[in-house]
Every structure is written in C-alpha cells, then in structure tokens.
C-alpha cells in the first residue's frame, strides 16, 4: 500500500521541531515510531502536509530518575523503557504493560512510550482501508456528523487502546508538553477529553516531551490485566490496572483504572474512596467489579471486535482481577 505524499523533516533539536509545528500547526504531524501512524496514513485517515520525525532528537529519548520521579522521554523506544534498570526496579507493572503491546517484531524496537500514550483511538468503523470506508457514510472523525457505531451520537466513541495508558494512570503519571509558551506539566488524568474526534487536551503547536511517574513513598503492589482475542498483535478489548500501597495492614493508597472501553480511560475514584484507610477485604472485589460494570455501561458502544455486552461484563471481571492481585486477595 502506498503512502500519501508529504514533506519530511527530521530536526535534531526539540526547538527546531517546535518551530516547524508553530508554523504549520495541525498540517504537520509528529512521527515517533510510526508503527500505528503509518498504517493510518496508508488508510488515508490522515494526509499531513509535513511529517516531522522525532527520530534525531536525542533529548526526547532520555530516561532518568530525579529525586522524586522517573522521567521517560516521550521518544524513548518501548524496548529502551522495558529494559531500563530504574523502570524494572520501581515500576515492573510498566514492563508488563509494554510486554503486552502488539508484537515484539512490530512495536518493540520502533514504537515509543509517547506514541503508545498518544495512540489514535480505534474503532472497527474507522481503522479500515479507504476502500472499505467508502461503503459507509462519514463519521465524526472522517468529516461527517454522525457516529457509525452509535447513530445520532454527537461525538466519536473510538477506543483508547494504548496498553500503557491505564498503567501510567494508576501510577499517577504526569505529562510534560512543550509548545507555544514554553513547557507545561499536566496530570495524565486530565489529558483525555472523552471525545474520540479530539481525544487529548493538546494544542496543535504542542509536542509531548516527557512522561513523569512519581516515585512511590512505599512499595507499590500492582496488577495489569488485559483481554484480547489473541495475546499478540491484537489491541486490548478491555484492560485494567491497579496500584496499591498497604502499610500496617491498612490500604494507604489505591488506584484502579479500566480502559480500552471508550475514548478516555476511566479512573474508578469511587472504589478508591471507599477502600482507602481500611484493611483490604474480599468485599473490595465486588465493589470494584460492580463499579467497573456501571462505568463501562455508560461508555462502551458496539465498535470493537467483541460485543458491547461482553466488553462491559469483562470490564467488571478485569477490574476484579486487578483489585484482587494488587491487594493480595486473589
């Protein structure tokens, strides 16, 4: 399959890349690993005037530990992140999430951590060839005014499918973005809009530069759960991540996230609030499952390769498993 025509620039500094982005805005598209974006180009989902490659920007590939955080350059490859000693020491859950991405020969060495986070949300009516899509009407994301998965919907319900997303959210990650007025840092939890046609709170002139994960003040117990038709290559049908800190028998910190349901990952704050401060008991499992099913019911539509009802029920099952494993109740 051929790619649409575009100009190509591969600046060697972030400043140069930002300058091009400032000049061209959304007409210039950032290329990190390209393992998903190139497919989207081939399907004519995007036809940018310019592609800005981040490949030559060394400062975006740094991984370092500061006094209070693990800082991942957005352009660090998945292989570099997963093999980094500090990542393995502090956040083995992230290694597990990265191991579950696609296939080693596809994403592992070319794909980047920033790219997985900014994976374009997916939908069975959207991630198709141009030819296939010509047989259907346009949708919110392809220039139309409807949703092919949920008729009459006023926004797009594509699925946030990055495997690292729920994990990084469970670890309370923050993002650093460079753009117009310098650098800003934002919690990952506030980054997703919930609308598939414009899924992130990011300006056209901005570039994601870093993912910062705060170092925990006590050992974290965790779980990453993922359901897909095949363990390799396929995107998740549902995934879930939980992170907990238990001290002296009391749950001091807990975060449970379910994702791959709709355009935004869902943090189950209600479960967190109910469980914190007490000793974890098996009631937590039912609580997590019920909350996940309720949240999923409000988000999931029939736009994946498994049915809506199945994904809703499995959101509950995965939330239950994640909670059980993270709290040592399984």
């Amino acid at each position: 399959m051929r790619l649409p025509p575009f100009e190509y620039q591969a600046p060697s500094t972030l400043d140069e890349a930002l300058k091009i982005k400032r000049g061209q805005g959304a007409a210039a598209q950032i290329l990190a690993g390209g393992t998903d974006l190139i497919v989207n180009f081939k399907h004519r989902l995007f036809s940018p005037a310019t592609v800005i490659s981040l490949n030559n920007i060394a400062e975006l590939k740094r991984i370092e530990v500061t006094h209070d955080a693990l800082v991942l350059g957005a352009g660090a490859s998945l292989a570099e992140v997963a093999s980094h000693p500090a990542v393995n020491e502090h956040f083995p859950i992230l290694v597990k999430a990265i191991d579950s991405i696609g296939a080693l020969g596809i994403q592992r060495f070319r794909g980047t951590i920033g790219g997985n986070l900014l994976l374009q949300p997916r939908c069975i009516f959207y991630n198709q060839s141009h030819y296939w899509r010509m047989s259907k009407g346009l949708c919110h994301r392809t220039g139309g005014k409807d949703c092919l998965a949920l008729e009459g919907s006023d926004s797009c319900h594509s699925i946030c499918s990055g495997d690292t997303v729920p994990t990084l959210l469970a670890l309370s990650a923050q993002l650093a973005l460079a753009g117009g007025g310098g650098k800003r840092v934002a919690p990952l939890a506030e980054f997703f809009t919930g609308r598939g046609e414009s899924p992130w709170n990011i300006m056209p002139e901005e570039i994601l530069t870093e993912i910062r994960i705060p170092l925990p003040w006590a050992p974290i117990s965790w779980s990453y759960q993922r359901l897909a038709l095949r363990p390799a290559v396929d995107f998740p049908l549902v995934n879930a991540a939980a992170a907990a800190i238990v001290e002296k028998g009391k749950l001091e910190h807990f975060r449970l996230v379910i994702a791959a349901l709709g355009p935004a990952p869902m943090v189950l704050r209600e479960v967190e609030a109910r469980l914190k401060g007490a000793a974890p008991t098996r009631e937590a499992l039912d609580l997590a499952q019920d909350a996940a099913v309720r949240v999923a019911e409000g988000v999931v539509v029939a736009n994946a390769s498994a049915s809506k009802e199945y994904r809703i029920q499995m959101a509950g099952a995965l939330a239950r498993r994640a909670t059980g494993e993270a709290l040592g109740l399984a």
Partner: protein, 170 residues
C-alpha cells in the same frame, strides 16, 4: 484524489545507509517506505510485502540488529542505519545456520514468510542464544505462515539454537 497530483512535487531527500554491509546512497521520496526502497530501488526482493500494515511479518528486516517492519518504516528513518535483509545473511556462498536449519527441518513451504521468520529468529538468537519455546514464540508472534502450521519453524529455530545443523542426508 488531489493527492495523486502532488506526488511529483515532493522533494526527494538523500538517504545514506548500510545495506547488507554495503554503503548505499540514493535519493528517495519522503513517502517511500523502507520496503519500497529495498525492493524497488535496491532490488532486494527477498523482502516481501504481505499485509502492508505490520501484522504479517513478511517485510521484517533488521535495523541496527533489531527486527522491524520495513512496511511501517519510512525509508528516510533508516538514514545512517545498518540494514540486514535475507540476501545479506549467507557469507562466502555458505548459508547461515538458521537458513540451513529451515531447509533441513522442512520449515519452508511456499517461502513467502521465510525471510521474515529467519531474520526475526536471527535477532532473537543474537539477543538470547538459548531461547526456550516461549521466547521463540514471542519473537515470532506477528509473523504469519499460512503453510507450515509453525511446528517445523519452531523446530528449525530450536535446531539452530542447538547447533544441530548440517546433518542433511546423514
């Protein structure tokens, strides 16, 4: 389809890389994939185009010793890189042990997936000389074979791992 008409306007860029040990320098369109350049400009047709979306593994090559999908990599992204295709694997007229193992174990039928399978296996054995079956399956996940059923391919990689090659006819 206005895009079709913009094609000739695209400015070509100079691409320098090492392919199978040889320095190459050529002018390429920004929207050419590494697959396009290897097959069409360098005539290395051992690199196959299957699904063209990354999911089949037929186009796998090694870039700086790592397995990548040449169909998902812009040619210009390979600037300065070392590329190995199946054509570069035999040395001095002798097949690489993995190639021998694939032949001896009957791991080649139609042959379309073979270059990707062998290169992905080579990257695995270079990283981990003693892979177990799980490691081999992980390394080859996403490489599709529609003939053999994979058993023979696994056997071939095991044979290459164990140095059990060169026994044909014995």
């Amino acid at each position: 389809m206005r895009n079709l008409f913009r094609r000739s306007d695209m400015q070509k860029h100079l691409l320098t890389m090492r392919v199978n040990g040889e320095q190459v320098e050529l002018a390429v369109r920004p929207n050419a994939t590494l697959l396009d350049v290897l097959r069409e400009d360098l005539e290395l047709t051992g690199v196959k185009e299957g699904c063209s979306e990354g999911a089949c593994g037929a186009c796998a090559v090694l870039m700086n010793n790592e397995p990548i999908r040449s169909c998902l990599t812009l040619a210009l992204e390979a600037n300065g890189a070392e590329i190995l295709t199946i054509e570069g694997l035999a040395t001095g007229g002798r097949l690489h042990p993995l190639q021998e193992a694939f032949v001896e174990q009957g791991a080649v039928q139609c042959g379309f997936c073979t270059p990707g399978m062998i290169l992905s296996s080579k990257a695995l054995l270079d990283r981990n000389p003693q892979p177990n079956d799980e490691d081999i399956k992980t390394a080859l996940a996403g490489s599709f074979c529609r003939c053999t059923g994979y058993a023979k391919i696994l056997e071939a990689v095991r044979a290459a791992r164990d140095g059990d090659v060169g026994n044909e006819g014995s």
